[in-house]
Amino acid sequence: MNALFVVAGQEIKSATRERLAIALLVVFLGMALVSSSIGWATHHTVMSVYDQTVLQTGRHIPNPFAGASALEITRNTIIYIVLIGALLATVVGVRSAVRDRKAGVTDLIFSRPMGTRAYMLGKLLGVQAWMGIVLVAALLASWLSAWVVLGAPLSWSATASLMGFFAVAWLFLLPFAVLGLVAGARSGHESTALLVPILIWVAVAFVIPQLGTAQNPSALLNPVPSAASTTDLFFKVNQAVLQPISITEHFKHAGSVILQLQDVASPAIGGDLLSLGAIAALSVAALALVSRASMRRPLHE
């Protein structure tokens, strides 16, 4: 068996013996259920106000949810994945790289006929396989909760959209897993191995979108971002520079379109998927930053 798949298999086996992996599963399932609950509560509240308004005024007012996608109730999942999912992927990546160093097995592993890149790719494959399992569980939870809330199962088309959304989420989380893996493999201290990627996550999730959409800061936590419309040169330059690397913005927009949410600025997601794919590919290439020497270094608390 290829060493890459052996490492990936070992990664999944080790992860399932740890509380972190189970916690990750629980958090993602919770995210999916909370998102559906909030979606249902929002829908219920708005419809109550709408019904009362129609009743009291006796006038015909357009139904705010007319033509809305059944997947509207899952819209908060987008922002949960951006905030909680990305953070968890980073932590899982760190944990994966640190596990072998803490266990003291790196010398045994690197005395085997396997290169450092194959080892790191195997680690990433294992982490992403586990993330895939977790996302599939979240997909099922979302689908089932939508059935309960809406009183009918989602259509084939809506189900396919939901699956597409979670597939894009898997791609979106990959760079964060790599970030954790590289930090865990290169750091001399376990604490900095965790702290550095979390700082980078803060920058990617909050600072870069804030700079790029500074005239419309509410877009930061809005599942449906709309780029700030501005004539100011500063913001134009900011947007031009930061737009391609604003991974969270690309995910939020692509997710919104795939879930067929209302108020989406543009239905085109080709550019978003291209950016997400390019950033994922670049992150995989960044695994080359890990050397055998850095993995063999002692890891302090």
């Binding site: 068996m1 060493a3 052996v6 490492v7 070992q10 086996k13 080790s14 013996r17 740890e18 266990a103 003291g104 097995v105 010398d107 045994l108 592993i109 690197f110 005395s111 085997r112 006929p113 396997m114 290169g115 055998r292 063999r296």
Partner: protein, 244 residues
Amino acid sequence: MSAIAIETSGLTKKYDDKPVLADLSIQVHQGEVFGLLGHNGAGKTTTVSILTTLLDPSAGSAEVNGHDVAKDSLSVRRSIGYLPENVQFYDALTLRENLTFFARLSGLAKPAGRIREVLSFLDFEGHDAERLSTFSKGMRQRVGIAQAILHEPSVLFLDEPTSGLDPAGVKMLRDTIIRLNRELGMTIFMNTHLLAEVTKTCSSIGILSSGRLIHHDSLERTLSSFPGQDSLEDIYLHLDTQAA
């Protein structure tokens, strides 16, 4: 004379221009049990780390089974087994799971049969399903030997194999080393500073002092070449003092 299993020429390792291993040239023939002696910090672990391809040398060259450690490291790794000092494993996994992982990394697609064979050879059956967190130091060392010989390497590197073991563990390990050499024909390269073990297991020795090789010969010739010294310990101290 049998073929050469390990050969180094002018092997040097420096950290920040400070040499920890200087100009090491040795030959170990196939079927030998070679003991590399030296005090702590003499360069023994550095030597083994280079020969097992874990470290790159700063200068010089080394070959194991005819493969250059720097240029053809994967071929070297395929033909060697390695037991590091204070060997560690995945404590949350069982013995079988640990050995299966390392066997597969060594290229064994279906290692179950081979694992049974090795555990039987080491007289270590019945622990397959136990997690390694419950194992004593002596048991871990046996697992260390098991993982090192799963893929039937022709050369085995042992770094301070008896470190931290009780007398029974030391005897068990010594007997195992002798059996691996005699019954399986493995060439063994062993780092140690326990001279009593060397006299009982090794056929040839090298002595390192502050990164330099100060003696290299067969054990028999070494013991007969220093008439004034009664034991290997005396010879070692004599040579080390001279080198200092």
